[in-house]
Symmetry: D2
Subunit: 442 residues, 4 copies
Amino acid sequence: MIHPNQSSTSDLAQAQVSPLAKMYQDVRAHSTKLCKALKTEDYVVQPIQDVSPPKWHLAHTTWFFEQFILKPYKKDYQIFDDSYNFIFNSYYESMGDKMLRDHRGNMTRPSTEDVYLYRKYVDEQMLDWMHTAEFEAQSVLSELTELGLNHEQQHQELLVTDIKYILGNNPLFPAYLQHTETWKPKADLSKQEYIEISEGLYDIGFSGDGFHYDNEEGAHQVFLHNFRLLNRLITNGEYLEFMEAGGYDNYDLWLADGRDYVRQHAIKAPQYWHQIEGRWYQYTLHGLQALDEHAPVTHISHYEADAYARWKNKRLPTEQEWEVACKLAQYDQNLHKLHRANFVETEILQPQALQAAPTQDTPAQMMGDVWEWTQSAYLPYPFYQREKGALGEYNGKFMSNQIVLRGGSCATPESHIRCTYRNFFQPDKRWQFTGIRLAEYF
Amino acid sequence: MIHPNQSSTSDLAQAQVSPLAKMYQDVRAHSTKLCKALKTEDYVVQPIQDVSPPKWHLAHTTWFFEQFILKPYKKDYQIFDDSYNFIFNSYYESMGDKMLRDHRGNMTRPSTEDVYLYRKYVDEQMLDWMHTAEFEAQSVLSELTELGLNHEQQHQELLVTDIKYILGNNPLFPAYLQHTETWKPKADLSKQEYIEISEGLYDIGFSGDGFHYDNEEGAHQVFLHNFRLLNRLITNGEYLEFMEAGGYDNYDLWLADGRDYVRQHAIKAPQYWHQIEGRWYQYTLHGLQALDEHAPVTHISHYEADAYARWKNKRLPTEQEWEVACKLAQYDQNLHKLHRANFVETEILQPQALQAAPTQDTPAQMMGDVWEWTQSAYLPYPFYQREKGALGEYNGKFMSNQIVLRGGSCATPESHIRCTYRNFFQPDKRWQFTGIRLAEYF
Amino acid sequence: MIHPNQSSTSDLAQAQVSPLAKMYQDVRAHSTKLCKALKTEDYVVQPIQDVSPPKWHLAHTTWFFEQFILKPYKKDYQIFDDSYNFIFNSYYESMGDKMLRDHRGNMTRPSTEDVYLYRKYVDEQMLDWMHTAEFEAQSVLSELTELGLNHEQQHQELLVTDIKYILGNNPLFPAYLQHTETWKPKADLSKQEYIEISEGLYDIGFSGDGFHYDNEEGAHQVFLHNFRLLNRLITNGEYLEFMEAGGYDNYDLWLADGRDYVRQHAIKAPQYWHQIEGRWYQYTLHGLQALDEHAPVTHISHYEADAYARWKNKRLPTEQEWEVACKLAQYDQNLHKLHRANFVETEILQPQALQAAPTQDTPAQMMGDVWEWTQSAYLPYPFYQREKGALGEYNGKFMSNQIVLRGGSCATPESHIRCTYRNFFQPDKRWQFTGIRLAEYF
Amino acid sequence: MIHPNQSSTSDLAQAQVSPLAKMYQDVRAHSTKLCKALKTEDYVVQPIQDVSPPKWHLAHTTWFFEQFILKPYKKDYQIFDDSYNFIFNSYYESMGDKMLRDHRGNMTRPSTEDVYLYRKYVDEQMLDWMHTAEFEAQSVLSELTELGLNHEQQHQELLVTDIKYILGNNPLFPAYLQHTETWKPKADLSKQEYIEISEGLYDIGFSGDGFHYDNEEGAHQVFLHNFRLLNRLITNGEYLEFMEAGGYDNYDLWLADGRDYVRQHAIKAPQYWHQIEGRWYQYTLHGLQALDEHAPVTHISHYEADAYARWKNKRLPTEQEWEVACKLAQYDQNLHKLHRANFVETEILQPQALQAAPTQDTPAQMMGDVWEWTQSAYLPYPFYQREKGALGEYNGKFMSNQIVLRGGSCATPESHIRCTYRNFFQPDKRWQFTGIRLAEYF
């Protein structure tokens, strides 16, 4: 088996590379780096439908470049293997037959080694084309490559959460990383402070030039009433109070669907929590560890976030409120200056205690650490137009029965996130790094 | 068995009755009237979980008065039968143990006759109390009675749709009503016209004095962009064009959940449609009838409504847009003057072709005929406060994974509806009288 | 609704009737008599797939005569209603499309009244034909009528057990019968005695002239080793000892399938047993009653019977052993002389304590009270030939994954049973009157 | 990863070894040899519940020696890893908690490499103990080792069929073996000949000294009627005739359960058959190959075998008939002399055309090639006593809802099989090498 760290693009990396090629190499190398700690067996399985085999992620992101860029646009391109379209297409109806999603974990072939060869081949073809593409192809090449790389970054986040699920549900609780530091809180967590934002018309959605998804388009105005937003995330310690107060059994606090959900699955705590001889532990990618009461609570469903908020006589923010607060604090402009925001680049892969003491106007922990459940259903913005064809299947067709999350997590690449970024999951999903920030009207 | 039309309240009706007592008698009598055409067997079954036995509706609405009014407030009230709380509680967790919802159709006892005796007993107790209640009890009595009667009106609509399901899925296709008139269209349906509404801040939610549900509360402002609304409902004939154009098989048109739904259930047409020797028929409560191409399409899921709109390059309205249009046309004020709006009082129980030619400013068919799917998820309004306890379970806990519908249907009592009324169902539900009105930005 | 006891055949009954017509009238009248205590609602429902609506039994047994006798053989016979073949066919693939079995309980029409009219019509046609049939038709008429009546007797037993299920799972525990006597034991139940039968070749299967099913045919020899058979049935009291000794939790005692079954359904006692404030009660068709420790245990699965036997270091008998013991005791010859064997004719409808003290050679309670689980899988006898066509579907196609039971129960018509009679159910079925007799080798 | 062929026992093999140690080394080496062609990924997955990961088989068979021999009997034995008992216990309730069977395919750890280390460690411990065991331990050691090796041989057969399932359901149809020879028929297959066996009392079950399972014990007599047995297996070509005659759609031929089964799963041909452009192919462990019409049909359920037999107006033999024919032909005595019986040792791993022309008295292909479905339910023999405790769970608790198969297959080790050997599976299982031999009475 080839070693993931012997990147297939190493030779080309020596040459003078364009910014696009540099970005391509960096993003692609990050995927293989994330898999470095895996054993071959870990690449294969799909313990639940939501969790795809790491091998599948590596191949599917590669297939995306082959299928949407190389095959339609690169002259004389030779498909690596005809059968891969069937195996590694995820959900694009317009791209032909696809394997049933829950069969991914039965596919022992192509082997992991073959998948790495597939990556190497497509990388060489992509980089070769970036080097040689005629002028008129440059625009489509760079536009689609950027989309492909953002697509790969989304799967990098899934790689982390899926690996965590695979290892965290193994009775041996194997560690993926050696234990690293745990951040100590740098602000007083004993009380909660709220930032006020006044009622008025605000701009929502992406405008400007950079990369963004179509679901952020349709810049428009919304009228918001006076609201307050908690200036940090809810911690494990605070969530434990809710549990100890009988929160999971108090039907007054729950949405009906949520109550059915926790009952049916006998849920009594966040995912990966284990009570052993009276003490609480949490499986992390560093192995099983004592619960850090100062770190943000994570791996909870929308139902649990909503019930917690109701218990505190608060609510979850709308996605518009969150976005307005993010923009007012100029997070996008300041992100590269942020002192150690906890994205995937910190390599901790677990939400950490508050580091930057919030100022009066700036809610902390808006970006990184955990995806924050909002109370907003994932719906099209005004003026949103779903594209026809495969790329139109990317976001638009999922605008049903899902909830918006904002702000990225400890598994998100820093360059992937922005104030207008809309993530979305069904309200019962817990395997992502999800968390809670409270809001209220005033 | 006692005959439903020999109303238990007949003697009392002779006496001078208060407006509350009059309203009570009228609403209660309507429930039994709806069941007049049933055979005893029809009262019992629950063919799918959504559809409750008519007997259950008759008893559950009665239980509501006993449980929330007579038992807590009426002095020396004797419970009719202790076991009924278990059997006829629907979903109120705070009211104690309840039967599993899908077991309702196995309960052959209490018999239909016993349920009518239960109604008679509770009616006598309620009317007696209305007659004799001391001054300080009047307020709670009238407030809760009004809620109980609105609750019963909701179940009256369900009675109609559940009876339709029970008879319409019987291979004998029995008629519930003798065939009555079919309305001829009174306006040109060959083209579609749109009413324009300008962008700006609008008031949303109920304000004023009359009865309303808590989910309409929290009057607030929203900013709407310029939009147009179709001035009538989509017809069967128009929907048939969508079907014949392959709409059900065109994946570009569907939400992912919707596509899975129609595939899994092999759905190719609205519910109750049957193609027999090349012609389309529709089961109605008058029996199986040739499809009326001018009547509004009905018994479609939100997914089908959404796909139809996308096929026309339009969209469904938001609930706010619908409400603003309703209020601008002063529907609430004019409702009692409407010439033959098609509510349950017409006793046709099937949506009918357009009767009032729409004027330039007034969209037609906003009320009655069919519930109109919006594109809005059912979520709390700003400032909405979910009540504690059983009555707080009425609406708030369902604000998850449901879609708002507006405007009432041919099975809705006219006095039950208003511009701010929010109905809600999961997007896959088809057994209600649901329909389509299109919108777009401009 | 017509009253079942005003038998449709009353006028004809006055006339001189043939033995066949007499038998026809008697058997048919028994079905309606069994339904006399029902309310109309009880006729309709199907709480689990195994349990058919009483209305369906009444119609299906009638359909059998129409479909297999009147329609093919009676000249100018007019079908009562064309749609009934679809609705009341049970499982005969050769008889055309049939309704899915688990939809029977949704069919509120045809009404119970219509079903009684259907019975009346078919009865008149059948009796008319018995009166007028030409000589050459007599043989097929009497042969098929006998089959139809035996078929109806089987459904009479199901009527009893299905009614018990419908009423016994109602939270009101309604009684079907007024309470009647309970038999006191007429023999010492404190110890168990065994009857020995010596090894040798024995004849198995039906031979002779009377009515029998095809699954009893293929008279043949088997070699049996020396065995002993318990001379009475296991009682409730004895079974309670097994429960109190932890029998349900002792994995050593169970077949793997049985262990999964009781675990999955959380089974801790026979069906219809309820422990209330520390005492055991049993729902019977007389209502909820204190457990009679001397009566035979009933409503247990084959798995429970098998586990009980293993707990006692015994086993269940094979069907051949049971049949040999039955024949040696000359049960068939003596059946009409039996002192109060507990068949449906006693109208107790519940197994009763031992009445006839067993003699040295005669095991008691072999017939009536409960169907005795054997350890034999239901398989074809040597030389058995499955008929082609619909009547061949009667028994042969069920010879898979079922267990043989012997001896009839308190719900079986006395004239229906004999030593060679093979009943069969899947091993997890508990809603029939099933019970336990032990055996061992010596 | 260590290479499976570098057997952990190689050094010890140099030394003088006892017959038991020799047998131990041979059997254990065969398991690793069977996995030699696998990629690491193939070791991990469990595509359906019946199919266990190869890694699991390798570890579970090792756990058997550790758990039942080394741990209770070897002095000072150190457990390899405490957590393995939970992970690699299969179904022994008496051995403590066990992982749910359908989670085996999610366990990426312990790795394949760790499993091979586990095998090496246990092998060294076992061989060491065989070398050094004190006299009084010899008997339990050899008895349990023999059981453990027979247990491992059973899992070797499952290894072959499970690997076939894993690779055969991969869209790439990878080959496990390079293509080898295909046997040409050495006898005229155009007609079928039957061997007659006369009625009488016959001995059934194992008697003598060699190894056997407890389910073969209880030697006893049965009376068999005159019967004939087909002198070879049914071929693919003959089965194709059944298919082409509409056998799968002819309800007269099927058991009711079988009909439901083939309908529900849309089964139209044996497992692994694929019709491509009008021609039939079969996935074999050599890859996808044109159907060999002379080879025995395989990968069919009991339902299909039974329906085929009925179509031919024949039946399947009982297990007693099969055993008597096997013993009369002295298969056990002649097995080692058989010319190329197709067991796993031929390394073809696919049933092959008839090689030995049957003589008048000797049915051919009784052993090897395919397991022959009988018509017998898997039940205890007379006098059979299920042992208490874990080893009693081996066979006895499965005597429910399963069918006996006889004779071994092309995946069975030759030393594992004998005339009295009883294999058993549920009637719907098709992933084993199963086949058909016909019988009839005369």
